[in-house]
Amino acid sequence: MSHRSPASRILALLLLLLPLAATADSEGEAEKEALPFSDLSFPEPARHFSAEQKCVQPVEEMRKNHMNYILHQRDETVHEGIRTRRYALEECVNCHTAQDDKGKYIPINAPDQFCYSCHSYASVKIDCFECHATKPVRPSTLQTPASTTSSTNSDKLSNDIRQLLASEGPAQ
């Protein structure tokens, strides 16, 4: 080995790595195609908290920590009678339920709706809706939407999730 020139060493290294790189590329493509749930789509929230802020907290924060907000609110409401609306589960339902063609609300706990589409992907069983209402009953008391132009980015959330899933794909 010691009598080889540096150039031949590099050449040998490249030759060794070339097939690896090629397979990695093609595998990456195939995996992206076959990624389960990559075609997930979510009903878009009917209302936004404000023009800048889609949800009661930034979406990234809600994705990670929505359960903590709801849990905290739940104990305060049941035991102390604190009834602020911002983190109330009822307000989640008010925004995140979708309507069918006839304008009837689809229960939020239906398999393809907002909560369960993601929770089934994550294999997390939630039982909020064995007791709690699954459809809006009374009007929201939170801020009304600043604009109703959400139709242009109606697939924003699902696109975000898709990107997230795609970027996490190879790590799986």
């Binding site: 739940r74 009678g81 009834r83 007791c131 459809k135």
Partner: protein, 249 residues
């Protein structure tokens, strides 16, 4: 024959009076109701405190034998009336029910509403193994259904048969009154309304027989009504200091 029967009657009277159940009609003049507002709204972000204690006074002399208005109002408000089609009559929810009592010797009958009595010392809270059954600082006794495991000890401990258990999956619950299979439930004194400064649904439906208010506030409508005329606790012998009081039994 007459003497033993009188004695027996006296004994029964004694027992029933202790039990707070009617032996005859205690005829009362129509209650004098002051129009003092009962509840002032607490800010939504402030916790309940023990400065208030909510109570209901039931004037049974105003209860007609065929009247069910308070029960219907509760059903509509909290959504429990016809929500369990597959449960037997014994299994169905009864947050509030109409009870008919009868004096066996005279045949006199009376109807009264029976629900959670919101005790100061609630047996249901004593026996709960998980802490789900609890008494809120303002005296309302509730079930935290997030913690309830459905063991039903509280149902057995309650002297008033106030609690019921949900035996089947439910749909279309009210957002302000979540209820579901496998948990125990009872009258919440409409805490969602009380927290807004409103009266419970039953009291709104029947202001003639039912008075709601703060038992600690001597100027409240309920305190004035209780000061003016006699009222009793049912099963006062248990020393539970109930928040629901009855008149005319």
């Amino acid at each position: 024959m007459s003497e033993p029967s009188t004695l027996a009657d006296a004994a029964r009277r004694n027992f029933l009076a202790k039990a707070g159940v009617a032996t005859g009609a205690a005829v009362m003049a129509p209650g004098l109701f002051l129009s003092v507002s009962t509840a002032s709204a607490r800010p939504a972000d402030q916790p309940v405190t023990s400065e208030k204690r909510w109570g209901i006074l039931v004037d049974t002399t105003k209860c007609a034998s065929d009247c069910n208005d308070c029960v219907t109002a509760c059903e509509n408000e909290n959504g429990w009336g016809s929500s369990e089609p597959n449960s037997s009559a014994e299994q169905k929810a009864h947050w509030i029910r109409s009870v008919k009592i009868r004096n066996k010797s005279t045949g006199f009958t009376k109807t009264l509403p029976m629900m959670c009595q919101h005790c100061e010392h609630p047996p249901c809270v004593d026996v709960c193994p998980t802490g789900a059954s609890f008494r809120r600082a303002d005296g309302i006794v509730l079930v935290d259904k997030h913690i309830c495991i459905g063991c039903r000890y509280c149902m057995m401990a309650c002297p008033y048969k106030a609690r019921s258990f949900v035996h089947e999956a439910l749909h279309d619950q009210k957002p302000w009154a979540p209820r579901g299979k496998g948990t125990v439930e009872s009258c919440t004194m409409c805490d969602h309304l009380v927290d807004k400064g409103e009266k419970p649904a039953c009291v709104q439906a029947c202001s003639s027989a039912l008075t709601f208010g703060d038992l600690y506030d001597e100027n409240s409508e309920i305190s004035q009504a209780m000061k003016a005329k006699d009222s009793v606790e049912i099963r006062a012998d248990l020393d539970l200091n109930t928040g629901v009081r009855y008149r005319g039994i």
